[in-house]
Chain length 342, copies 2
């Protein structure tokens, strides 16, 4: 195992945001956690391919100055293809490329000799399966058992690991409901407002507005200075403060969750999560132990009323046992090892 830690690993992060991101940027967060986790566990030759202003204890190779979401003068595909091609041009310098940047890198695969592991962070559209199905002789990891395409050969599910240093456990519940993450219909932000109103509780909404029309039409009209607030995106420090105020996190996603970093983060702070029973939610939440899986707003309202039955220590424990960076990286180590053995 020590021998394997000398292998030359390239971690390919997206270039939408800095790695790690300042606020939003789920895939960059995971790519950062994998990179830093490998270094922490003694891997000696890890190279992170990310934006030039990224930060890492591994070797950083960047081609694009800033993330294209942070510098709108860039055409995303221009930055994306340049970034990816720089890894591919140097493929021979590595024993393994670990791709965290979606499907485009797969199309360079037949031209390089180095094996590539792709973590599929989500299928943004069914059509992207055409690329995956065209590349079945490579290595895939899913981020939950539920987020799998039946036509693909997966090596394993490796759950995302989160950085607990920015998530302070508190045994004392706050007195507000909290909804955070991307503000989008898919995440059911508007349903959290319904729940709060029906429960007669305050609600804090935080996160990046991903669909401005959705926000303007379904969220903004309900906002006020007191009972229903929107506080914008939160960085890890602000998130920690936010979760201290949380009685429960409401996460009524309307499409299957792929993993659900928000749920793991909330539980890490000791906050129980009420989530729609769709996709990976039942893999992340231990139903009735660290939160409740529900199927409707009314179920969620009932769940809020019995949330004090949840042991907040159990929430933290669920994360410590399953969703730490160390747990994730040891999962990837097993996968890497198997690839090197083949």
């Amino acid at each position: 195992m020590d021998d394997i830690k000398n292998k030359r690993i390239a971690i390919l992060a997206p270039v939408a945001w800095r790695t790690p991101p300042r606020a939003y940027g789920a895939w960059e967060t995971v790519a950062s956690n994998i990179t830093e986790g490998l270094v922490a566990r003694g891997w000696k030759n890890v190279t992170l391919f990310a934006t030039k202003e990224s930060e890492t204890k591994a070797k950083l190779v960047g081609w694009v100055e800033k993330g294209y979401e942070e510098d709108k003068s860039q055409i995303p595909l221009v930055s994306t293809c340049l970034h990816i091609s720089k890894v591919m041009e140097r493929a021979d310098d590595f024993d393994l490329i670990h791709n965290n940047f979606d499907y485009l890198p797969l199309t360079y695969l037949p031209l390089i000799k180095t094996p590539m592991l792709t973590t599929i962070h989500g299928f943004s559209d069914p059509d992207i399966l055409r690329v995956y199905h065209d590349h079945k002789d490579t290595y895939y990891v899913s981020i939950s058992d539920s987020d799998r395409d039946p036509g693909l050969p997966y090596m394993a599910t490796v759950y995302n690991g989160i950085d607990l240093s920015n998530l302070t456990f508190s045994d004392k519940p706050g007195n507000k409901l909290v909804h955070y993450g991307r503000i989008h219909n898919d995440k059911g932000t508007h349903l959290s407002i319904e729940v709060a109103k029906k429960c007669g509780m305050d609600l804090i909404i935080a996160g990046l507005i991903q669909d401005q029309a959705y926000f303007d039409n379904l969220i903004k009209p309900h906002l006020n200075q007191s009972s229903i607030q929107y506080i914008g995106p939160v960085n890890p420090v602000a998130r920690d403060a936010l979760l201290k105020e949380a009685y429960a996190v409401i996460h009524l996603n309307l499409i299957p969750e792929r993993f659900g970093l928000v749920m793991a983060e909330s539980m890490a702070a000791g906050v129980p999560v009420i989530a729609m029973d769709l996709g990976s939610c039942r893999e992340v939440i231990a139903d009735k132990q660290t939160g409740y899986l529900v199927n409707s707003v009314d179920d969620a309202v009932k769940a809020v009323k019995i949330i004090d039955k949840i042991d907040r220590k159990k929430c933290r424990q669920q994360v410590e046992e399953n969703f730490t960076i160390d747990k994730m990286v040891s999962g990837y180590e097993k996968v890497y090892e198997e690839i090197f053995r083949r």
Copy 2:
């Protein structure tokens, strides 16, 4: 030279539309003309990479069934990257890849051994220059002297060639003004309406609506059943009928033209063109001989009034001497030959 015609050439067409396109699809049209032109001139090993439903006398290799503009279930980038990667995977089977599909193919270039010639059909955004500037040790052709980036090493300008078989010369002027091509602010469709009104002449507008809001706001309000008509996109047969009705073609482009197929087509039918003096217009039109280069609507109105001074035979001649498929292909043959000599 006969020896060179045994070389294995891959022509990479875009997959937005069928090659050749049914109606609109400028780059696919050129890619088709190059392919068929090479075959006509005796090249024996030409392979066209295009949509599967494309038509060619060369060998056809397709991966994508239909163009992504004709089948909106496709994510354009998915079809694009799969299509490009299929050429790259087979690069060793060819002596030259002739890329007519923009900048993305360049990023695969360091991974293949086969030389690639890229015809730059246009810079859709200044940001795409980042990819070109990152790949200066390859071969470029411009489609006009004016559409060149000063930082790139070009081998030659090769003007687009058009298929004259669908363009019937008529010495007899029609009695209407005609504007056709993409309906977009860049093409100055709204200015052709101003010209027609000021001249008191009828106007027929044809072409694909590329910007619906532009059409709805600036074009639609002026349409009626008689003096100002919009007839939709035209295929080559309908275009031929359209040009028969033309007294002159009005082409008051607001951004520099890259080449201007519309101008060459019009002149081929014997129709003089009044064009804005921007970009390649002065390379395609012989000013005062095959049309007029202008700088304003008022100039264009004046030009309409003296358009009968233009010899329509001269218009046709301008195209026959400079913008035929044969002329274009012989231009590319010289470029290919130089690449093989290096």
